[in-house]
């Protein structure tokens, strides 16, 4: 397959486009997700699509992949019109897609996931052995290494994504759609992904890349389209545009892409952690003696590849260590020791002690997706005296409060009664951030504050975090986005394998140095080892 596409070479200008969409429209009930979309993507190019949360990017791509049926419009693949009724048609037409939310079967092995739907016959054995061979070749060709027998739920997100890409390649996709592939990746993983994408482009494959990160658009795409509120507002050559221009097209106003912040003025220590250790339910040591201090008025950023203990650290500090785990060490907030086990160790107690928490996974932890916005604003603080007297809650008080927060944080739509699940990701995050920041906690724990959030919202959330710091609060920021860590933190600690590898000051380090620390290599140590562990768990 590789050889065949190699000979095809770069496309002529006269050659038909790999993909052409004409007048695609799609409504979900009353929501017009896509309106009269036209799009042309040339063969052998990488085409970027950007747009705010809910702009309709995923919908458009899902239509192309046969997941949704369009209400109107025409799709041409390789110049020929094609009615894509289901994903099978799309796959046969050479289209592959890596969804924003992976479509993997968590308790299947990598091999099983890869062959699902394209088995060779009624029995599995031949398919599995064939796939094993093909996977080995693909792994070599594209540096896409994953253990074919690993169970997917045990893989890191980065590796899960590789499985998704392998699935597409295994199905001989010529046109590869990636929906926000880097949202869950570390910078190094993202770089690796881009190298793979470049390799694919060189082979003549066509790639459509959805992302919220303008840096990525500028770095890798040949052309870029901007969507806003279901419409395609621009399609330009990347070389002819700039991040600022794209941001403005996306949001419809000027956006500050860099965080503006004054130097920190740290006060007394708020959080002190000494020799924190944690062994999880299956006996694996996840934290191996963490020591950290955060002072009032400073942001400590924790960088690291996900899966190195950040989640456990946040959960312990938040008051809900994993069930069945054992925790030891000492944690003080404002000088008072926090119980790490037993009855006093619970999230409600922490909140009373002034510890706020924006969790890593807003949909699974931070919000109850079926609850309305106002209920989510009270979530976690539902015991607060101002939310009611005695056992009953005062709905009006909560709603008033929620309306204020929603207004101040510009949550859209500003509808208190809408269920959390009906807000876009960025706005969901704003609800969580509003709830936690406006409580004015002495210590705020933040996990991945802007994962999958569009730039308008990122700008806003960052500004609020800095404001809280300037109000003299201590902030622990965990993020896999090095850019975010670098621009927000006053100090940076790097976590690897349950340990703090080192601390750096943002002005005095580089992403390169941090990247090495994140891989468990001290800056002075000799040859950098492989950045990607074969298996993360």
């Amino acid at each position: 397959m590789a050889a065949e596409t190699q000979t095809r070479g770069r496309p002529e200008t006269a050659a038909p486009a790999a993909i052409e969409l004409r007048g695609i429209s799609k409504a979900f009930g009353p929501v017009q997700a896509n309106r009269d979309i036209h799009l042309r993507v040339e063969r052998g190019t990488i085409h970027g699509i950007i747009g705010e949360n809910g702009a309709g990017k995923s919908t458009l791509m899902s239509i192309l992949y046969g997941f949704y049926k369009p209400d109107a419009g025409e799709i041409l693949v390789g110049g020929r019109p094609l009615t894509i009724t289901d994903s099978q048609t799309a796959i046969r037409a050479g289209i592959g897609m890596v969804f924003q939310h992976f479509k993997l079967v968590p308790n299947f092995t990598v091999l099983e996931n890869v062959i699902l739907g394209v088995e060779e016959g009624r029995l599995l054995r031949p398919s599995l052995s064939k796939a094993r061979g093909v996977l080995k070749r693909l792994a070599q060709d594209y540096e896409l290494h994953v253990d074919p027998d690993a169970v997917v739920e045990n893989l890191s997100v980065g590796h899960q994504q590789r499985v998704e890409i392998l699935k597409a390649l295994y199905r001989r996709a010529d046109i590869l759609i990636l929906d926000e592939p880097t949202g869950v990746l570390t910078p190094a993983e993202a770089d690796h992904l881009f190298r793979i994408l470049e390799g694919l482009r060189a082979e003549g494959k066509t790639i459509i890349l959805i992302t919220h990160k303008l840096r990525e658009i500028m770095e890798i795409t040949d052309t870029v389209s901007v969507m806003r509120r279901g419409e395609m507002v621009a399609s330009v050559r990347t070389a002819d545009t700039s991040p600022e221009q794209l941001a403005e097209l996306m949001v419809g106003r000027k956006v500050l892409l860099n965080v503006q912040k004054a130097p920190a003025r740290p006060g007394k220590p708020v959080l002190e952690i000494r020799d924190l250790r944690m062994v999880d339910a299956s006996g694996v040591e996840r934290l191996r003696g963490i020591g950290l201090d955060i002072r009032a008025g400073e942001i400590l950023g924790i960088a690291g590849v996900s899966g190195n203990g950040q989640t456990q650290l946040l959960e312990i500090l938040g008051g809900y260590p994993e069930k069945g785990s054992t925790v030891s060490g000492e944690v003080r907030v404002n000088g008072a020791p926090l119980p790490l086990t037993g009855a006093g160790c619970n999230a409600a107690e922490r909140r009373r002690k002034g510890v706020g928490h924006i969790p890593e996974d807003r949909q699974a932890e931070g919000l109850i997706m079926d609850f309305s916005a106002w209920e989510n604003v009270a979530f976690g603080y539902h015991d607060a005296p101002e939310y009611g007297r005695g056992p009953l809650m005062d709905r009006d008080a909560i709603r008033r409060d929620a309306e204020g927060k929603i207004r101040r944080f510009d949550v859209r739509p500003p509808d208190c009664d809408l269920a959390a699940r009906n807000f876009s990701g960025g706005n969901q995050q704003k609800i969580v951030v509003a709830r936690e920041i406006e409580r004015n906690p002495d210590l705020l724990l933040i996990g991945q504050p802007t994962r999958g959030v569009d730039i308008g919202a990122i700008e806003f959330i960052h500004k609020r975090i800095v404001e809280l710091r300037d109000a003299g609060k201590a902030i622990l920021l965990v993020s896999v986005e090095l850019d975010e860590i670098m621009s927000l933190s006053d100090r940076i600690a790097v976590m690897f394998d349950g340990r703090i590898m080192g601390e750096r000051l943002p002005g005095q380090t580089t992403t390169g140095e941090l990247g090495l620390l994140m891989a468990g290599v001290d800056a002075d140590a000799t040859p950098p080892p492989k950045i990607f562990p074969e298996k993360c768990e």
């Binding site: 949704y68 099978q88 299947f108 099983e112 599995l124 054995r125």
Partner: protein, 350 residues
């Protein structure tokens, strides 16, 4: 307790577990595909009724068995349409199927036989003769009277003696075990036991099984692979229907000889419990249903346990299997994680 007693208890356990096993495997297919099924009870009941009815009307147990399958399949179709096509609540659909079967069987039975919901006994006798005669008369027009008589002479599954059962009886332990426990059951018992490895093989060794398991864990993965979620789930629900059909047919035309209203007596719910117990795995289903069968057989054998000081009342012995189940569940099994997409209709667009 001597060997003979043990063998007899095991023998009884095998019979008692068979309907549970079939129903449990039925639930396994359905729930592994993401469709919860608390309607096992109803489907079994319907199958028992249709099997007994047709066997009584034709004198042919095979026709009865086919009718049993169809009866259960019909309710499966209802479940499928409600919970797959129209994305209804699977629990409600299951509950309604149980009610439907419980009412329809008696209603139809009364209409057909006028015996208060009972079917005639499937043993040769005047009661049965009266029912079979018209069919036999009709049949003899096609096959001649002798053929008709032969075709209408087995209204009920007999017991099969496996080869060498008697020859081996002399061999210590193995011999009696083979002759007493393994040999001498209705064919449906053997079918049920064969279903276990077969189910394992289908689930883990075939394309269909792979897709089936996938659709119960993450239907979107199957959908994006271009395979129809709806079709897979319907297939699974249909298989569940067939297995319930076998279970019902065994109850009415194997274990007993005819249908009595409500004769499933909660076995569908016990099968459901066994399924959870088995953590949705075929060999686990075998183990779990065997345990239930064994507990019941033991309680049957020792109805009034005399402990010297006190005699354990019969009510307690009757409840013993249930009490032990709770204890075992509390002590040994731990958390059973159901198929992730179970109970949820697959909705792409809201």
């Amino acid at each position: 307790m001597d060997l003979n007693t043990v063998l007899q208890i095991l023998d009884s356990a095998v019979r008692l577990m068979t309907p549970l096993l079939l129903a449990c495997l039925a639930g396994l297919y359905s729930e592994r595909a993401g469709v919860f099924d608390i309607g096992l009870e109803g489907k079994m009941l319907m199958a028992a009724f249709s099997a007994a009815t047709v066997a009584a009307l034709t004198g042919n147990v095979w026709l009865g068995a086919v009718a049993g399958l169809l009866g259960a399949l019909m309710l499966s179709a209802v479940h499928g349409v409600a919970s797959i096509t129209f994305r209804g609540n699977q629990l409600i659909s299951g509950v309604s199927i149980n009610f439907l079967a419980s009412g329809l069987t008696v209603l139809l039975g009364q209409k057909i036989f006028g015996l208060g919901g009972r079917t005639p006994s499937l043993t040769p006798g005047a009661e049965l003769e009266a029912q079979v005669t018209p069919f036999r008369a009709w049949l003899s027009g096609i096959t001649g009277p002798d053929g008709a008589a032969a075709l209408t002479a087995t209204p009920r599954f007999g017991e099969i003696t496996l080869p060498f059962a008697d020859a081996l009886r002399g061999v210590p332990v193995i011999g009696p075990l083979y002759a007493e426990v393994i040999s001498g059951h209705s064919i449906l018992v053997y079918v049920a036991f064969l279903m276990v490895p077969l189910t394992w093989w289908v689930l883990y060794r075939t394309r269909f099984g792979l897709r089936l398991r996938a659709v119960g864990e993450n239907p979107a993965s199957v959908d994006t692979a271009g395979v129809s979620v709806t079709r897979l789930r319907f297939a699974a629900v249909a298989i569940a229907g067939l297995l319930c059909g076998l279970a019902g047919a065994y109850l009415a035309t194997g274990l007993s000889a005819g249908f009595v209203k409500e004769m499933t007596a909660g076995r569908g719910f016990i099968a459901l419990a066994a399924l959870i117990f088995a953590k949705w795995r075929p060999w686990g289903a075998l183990g779990a249903t065997f345990l239930f069968g064994l507990l019941e057989a033991v309680a049957n054998r020792y109805p009034n346990l005399d402990l010297g000081v006190i005699t354990v009342p019969s009510m307690f012995m009757n409840a013993l299997p249930y009490i032990l189940t709770v204890i075992i569940l509390a002590g040994f099994v731990g958390r059973a994680i159901p198929p992730r997409a179970g109970g949820e209709p697959y909705v792409k667009e809201r």
